[in-house]
Amino acid sequence: MARFLALLAAMLVLASPAATQPKSAVRLPVFPAVEPGTALRFPADHGAHPEFRTEWWYVTGWLDAGDGQQIGFQVTFFRSRPSIDQRNPSAFAPKQILFAHAALSDPKLGKLLHDQRAARAGFGLAEAATGDADIVIDDWRFHRTADGRFKAKAGGKAFMLDLGFVPTQPILLQGEGGYSRKGPKPGQASHYYSIPQLKVSGTVTRNGKAVTVKGSAWLDREWSSTLLDPKAVGWDWVGLNLDDGGALMAFQVRDAAGQPLWAGGSLRGPDGTVTRFTPGMVRFGAERIWRSPRTGGRYPVERSLTIALPQGERRWNLKPLFDDQELDSRAAGGPIYWEGAVSTDGGRGYLELTGYVSPMKL
């Protein structure tokens, strides 16, 4: 869901109109609104939507290196369109900014390995293609091949991921046919689809040693121009690949008091039937708090997720692969948040907790 919004917001959205220029002369970008009823078309919607303010390609999953040891990973590419004067003819004009993060959760390490890239689009060094997924930042790339597979290459000094993802299930449109509301106002929404139960194969290189891995992953795709309500300070998101072939996604947007401003999600059963959650159906509970020794942030890393399904209430208890999966990206201009591999009875996935150290502003 609205992951990394803080980063995007912080870096770009507030860019104020050129104050020393005559107001009439400045040509700011016009961001299209997310409209319900817009039909998503593929493969075009795998590609970038450069008119919108923000967009991401977000892959999370679990890997098995063959020794029975499970590790979590995330590879994320973001696109953002800053509010700058569109008349600037410079090839460096930051009309599109691309970011990417990658992290590895290894319980033997007890903390995250992570790396990132950021660049303004241009000169072929950083580009987000339209028409199909292909986003490049220097030596990192996420793209879709002709045979329908996705490929990701990311990493740095500490680790290197070179992974392929084969879809095993159809695309899951979130919300109303891909129109996913994030707040009480209809404009607070995104275009949102997921591809759960991706079959992963590839290599993870650490300390110069490449290990062949297999596993399962979840791809989230969202683009929007206006997302969060001004009262929102953070959000919780979880996506689980269930062992029976099902897929569960749930999120809530919190206000300063920790109360949900909005919530949503969906459950796709093994048979393909989809139940979409209205705000009243989703309840996140905190079972155990972990306090970060670095930042002092108090994260509910063990959670209960209760969904009031039409056929009756169901509860999933989420347990982290290990506690310290906090990511402090302040050095790279980003926020502090918790993004970790979690498991439940009959399922595995990723949990994201933001706004627990200080409020995320938009």
Binding site: N88, F92, L125
Partner: protein, 850 residues
């Protein structure tokens, strides 16, 4: 027991001698102190300024590992950036726009850096700006609304002075003026640096640099072979870009001012040398006076070595005390000079920086040791003389040890002078005229060594004259009869006079040549210039036509000055664009020697004297300059230029426009039509100026420009003038001390004269005549030697350091003043000392010694 007794006797003798003649010891000590102080002060100031300057360079460079820089301020094509970024082994590449900008404030220049924050974060994080709003909200993360805002600019602490975040700043660079909002502080940029950081796209757009870059900062991948990568990167570069490393940057900033710094160091060491001669003269006199005492000690069983050691210990004590005092004085002088004159001591090399004084104990130790060595060397000859004397002879004869009838040998002096002359012919060592300075030192030593011979030759004819005045006659006879005492007194005078004269003649020649050159260079009636025009700014062809059509303008010649970096470790070369052919070329700078005609199809270029020297260019040669790619040029002539020490080349305006397409000009010289006043025409021209450049155009008349240039010249020579004044004072003090010591030593002689019927008045007249005569001989010899040494400064040291030549111009007034002051002070001190010596009554005076 005997040794102990001798040691005690030696101590008494030293202390007694010092107590009896404190001025002599004090002058020698002060001379050493001044030498050490000047040397240390100049060295400290230079070292502080240089470290400050290299800090400034690395501040603007943000400590990038490797850098690609454009040869000219116009920059290179931005497509080089992706090519370098993709090279294997390059881990990050950060493109940079680097411009010099002026602000609304007079005389303020700011370095403007256009950065891609996302790239610079990996390569030069210290250059990044921080929005002030984010302070104190660390956990929140920065609310970076500003990095991509084309309006936002971040100022270093130095540039922020007197401004506040949120205010508007107007910058003029690259010929464009743009307004920006101060969004925050670039806190990583060191104190005192004036730097403004903004987004690269905003810089390209607002400051007229679309498609261009001045710099690409590179970071290599871990483990990449740097030497190999340098070759790989250099091979990928176009002609108008250069690979720069930290080393080559350091060499460049060093070569910028090295010649100037070495020259000052050498001048300071010359002061120390003068101190050495003063120690020599003080010690010689003291030894001569105490010859009977030493003889007595020898008779009492003290060994020669002990006597040698005693005189040396005296010298060392003087050197040590003087040296330590010099260290303190030097440190004080250095901090004072830094505060008053700036890090370049007024030389104008480092801009407006006020560096912190960096004290290095090693430098202090070196100068202390130099001071000690000078004192030891100065004492060595007198000490050997004291030890060598025959006790029996010395006991009897308290007079001059040298037989006046034997002419002193001239050959050691001749050997030294010939060696000095030969050293002057040698080339520079590493761009520094070391052998030129060696030549000056040898000439000085030779001149001083020749003094006894010269004194006798000059006094020879006069001593046979029978003069009517007994006093004058006595004075002549005495100087003739005590040649070594005269020589000792003279060597101090000659050393300080000759150094002083050499420096004075050089400075006056330089100033005179600059003045002549300025007159040739500024023949028009009126000059105008666009400040901070940079590249592509100033007057476009339309504005030029409008200005040319102004009533009252007889002719107007447009000109442009830009720069070009030819080698990574050399300061940039200036490019002067002006009409060099046709009627408009009438006022062009004169060429030294013959001017060639370029072969058909070749573009002519005129090179300045320093450029010809630095790059080895000769008329008739073909050279390649990175103008509009890389173009061949034919050197047709060399012109004199004192304003750009690092070289300049002149291109014909038509050729330049043909090659580059650049028709903009930044300067103009105007001939006013007959019957019009300069002021009237200036106002008419001002009215025709395009509105965007009008506030930045300055007008000047040649007289103003000349006065301004000479003021800069005088400022940069302020330290030289200061050193000169100190040398004169030390010299005069030396003369006074020597003459008064010699006079006081002659109490017995005066008593004898009184017994023979000579009146007090006559003795005083004799002393004054002696002093004046001594001074006159010293002045003649000193000025002669100084003139020879000045020729070494003018024809060897200056061309080798600064690559320009000059014509000798003698400062007659100064020379006459120095001559009068020296003769007067020698005669005056003799008079004063004589009165004191005569105050004792005649009977006691005769008994004084025995």
């Amino acid at each position: 027991m005997a040794a102990k007794g001798a040691g005690l006797a030696a101590r008494w003798m030293i202390l007694g001698e010092w107590r009896a003649h404190p001025m002599r010891v004090v002058t020698a000590g002060v001379a050493i102190a001044i030498g050490v102080a000047l040397g240390l002060a100049v060295h400290l100031v230079n070292a502080s300024a240089l470290s400050e300057f290299s800090r400034a360079v690395s501040t603007v460079n943000g400590d990038a590992e490797l850098q690609v820089r454009s040869a000219a301020p116009a920059g290179f094509d931005e497509q080089l950036y992706p090519r370098l970024a993709r090279l294997p082994g390059v881990s990050a590449a950060s493109p940079v726009i680097e411009l010099k900008a002026t602000t609304g404030r007079a005389d303020e220049q700011i370095t403007v850096l256009g950065l891609d924050v996302l790239r610079a974060a990996a390569v030069t994080p210290s250059l990044l700006g921080r929005p002030v709003a984010a302070e104190g909200e660390g956990a929140h993360g920065p609310t970076n609304d500003a990095p991509f805002d084309e309006d936002a600019i971040f100022l270093s602490e130095g540039a922020l002075e007197g401004r506040a975040v949120g205010q508007v700043i107007v910058l003029t660079a690259g010929g464009r003026t743009a307004r920006f909002r101060i969004a925050g502080v670039a806190a990583g940029i060191g104190e005192g640096r004036k730097v403004a950081v903004l987004d690269i796209a905003a810089a390209q757009w607002r400051l007229g640099e679309i498609g261009r870059l001045q710099r690409i900062d590179l970071k290599l991948a871990e483990g990449a072979d740097e030497t190999r990568m340098r070759d790989v990167i250099a091979a990928a570069l176009p002609a108008d870009a250069q690979l720069v490393t930290r080393d080559s940057e350091a060499r460049r900033s060093d070569s910028l001012s090295r010649a100037y710094r070495v020259n000052l160091d050498m001048l300071a060491l010359m002061a120390l040398l003068t101190g050495g001669f003063l120690v020599y003269s003080a010690q010689s006199l003291s030894v001569a006076r105490r010859r009977p005492q030493f003889a007595l000690l020898r008779v009492l069983g003290v060994r020669r070595k002990a006597l040698l050691a005693q005189v040396l210990v005296e010298g060392i004590s003087v050197g040590l005390v003087g040296g330590l005092a010099g260290l303190t004085l030097g440190f004080g002088l250095a901090s004072g000079a830094l505060r008053l004159l700036g890090g370049d001591l007024g030389g104008g090399y480092f801009g407006d920086t006020r560096p912190e004084l960096v004290f290095s104990p090693l430098a202090g130790l070196v100068f202390l040791v130099l001071g000690l060595l000078t004192a030891i060397v100065g004492s060595l000859a007198p000490a050997r003389e004291a030890a060598r004397a025959q006790p029996a002879v010395a006991l009897k004869n308290a007079g001059d040890a040298v037989d006046p009838r034997v002419s002193p040998p001239i050959w050691p002096a001749v050997v030294l002078l010939v060696a000095g002359g030969a050293a002057a012919l040698a080339p520079a060592v590493g761009g520094i005229p070391l052998l030129g300075y060696a030549s000056m030192a040898l000439l000085l030593a030779g001149g001083v060594a020749a003094m006894p011979w010269i004194a006798r030759t000059l006094l020879g004819p006069v001593q046979h004259l029978s003069l009517r005045w007994a006093a004058v006659d006595l004075a002549f006879k005495r100087l003739w009869g005590a040649p070594s005492q005269a020589a000792v007194a003279l060597c101090g005078i000659v050393a300080s006079t000759s150094l002083m004269v050499a420096m004075a003649v050089m400075v006056s020649s330089f100033r005179g040549s600059v003045d002549d050159w300025l007159q040739q260079l500024l023949p028009a009636d009126l000059y105008m210039r666009v400040d901070g025009a940079g590249v592509g700014g100033g007057f476009d062809p339309k504005a030029q036509a409008a200005l040319a059509a102004t009533p009252g303008v007889a002719t107007i010649v447009f000109q442009k000055t830009t720069s070009l970096m030819l080698a990574a470790d050399q300061p940039p070369l200036a490019i002067v664009v002006r009409p060099m052919r046709g009627p408009e070329a009438a006022n062009r700078p004169p060429v030294i020697g013959r001017e060639l005609t370029p072969p058909p199809g070749q573009t002519p270029v005129w090179v300045s004297e320093p450029a010809a020297w630095l790059y080895g260019w000769k008329p008739g040669q073909q050279i390649v300059l990175p103008i509009a790619g890389a173009q061949p040029f034919f050197v047709v002539g060399v012109w004199r230029d004192y304003s750009r020490q690092h070289g300049a080349v002149t291109l014909d305006a038509a050729d330049y426009t043909r090659l580059t397409g650049d028709q903009w000009r930044t300067e103009a010289s105007v001939d006013v039509a007959e019957g019009r006043s300069s002021n009237e025409v200036m106002e008419a021209l001002r009215a025709k100026l395009p509105s965007d450049v009008a506030p930045r155009v300055t007008f000047a008349e040649p007289a103003t420009l000349r006065a301004f240039a000479l003021r800069i010249f005088d400022r940069s020579f302020a330290v030289t003038y200061g050193l000169e004044a100190i040398a004169i004072l030390v010299g005069l003090a030396g003369v006074a001390a020597t003459v008064s010591a010699q006079t006081l030593a002659r109490t017995k002689e005066f008593g004898m004269l009184r017994h023979l019927g000579v009146t007090q008045r006559q003795i005083v007249a004799m002393l004054v005549t002696e002093g004046a005569l001594l001074g006159a001989v010293g002045v003649v010899a000193g000025i002669g030697l100084g003139l020879v040494m000045s020729q070494v400064l003018i024809h060897v040291v200056n061309p080798q350091s600064f690559h320009w030549t000059m014509e000798t111009k003698l400062p007659w007034a100064l020379l006459a003043g120095v001559a009068v002051a020296l003769v007067a002070s020698a005669a005056g001190t003799a008079l004063l000392a004589g009165r004191r010596a005569l105050s004792a009554d005649a009977v006691r005076a005769v008994r004084e010694d025995w």
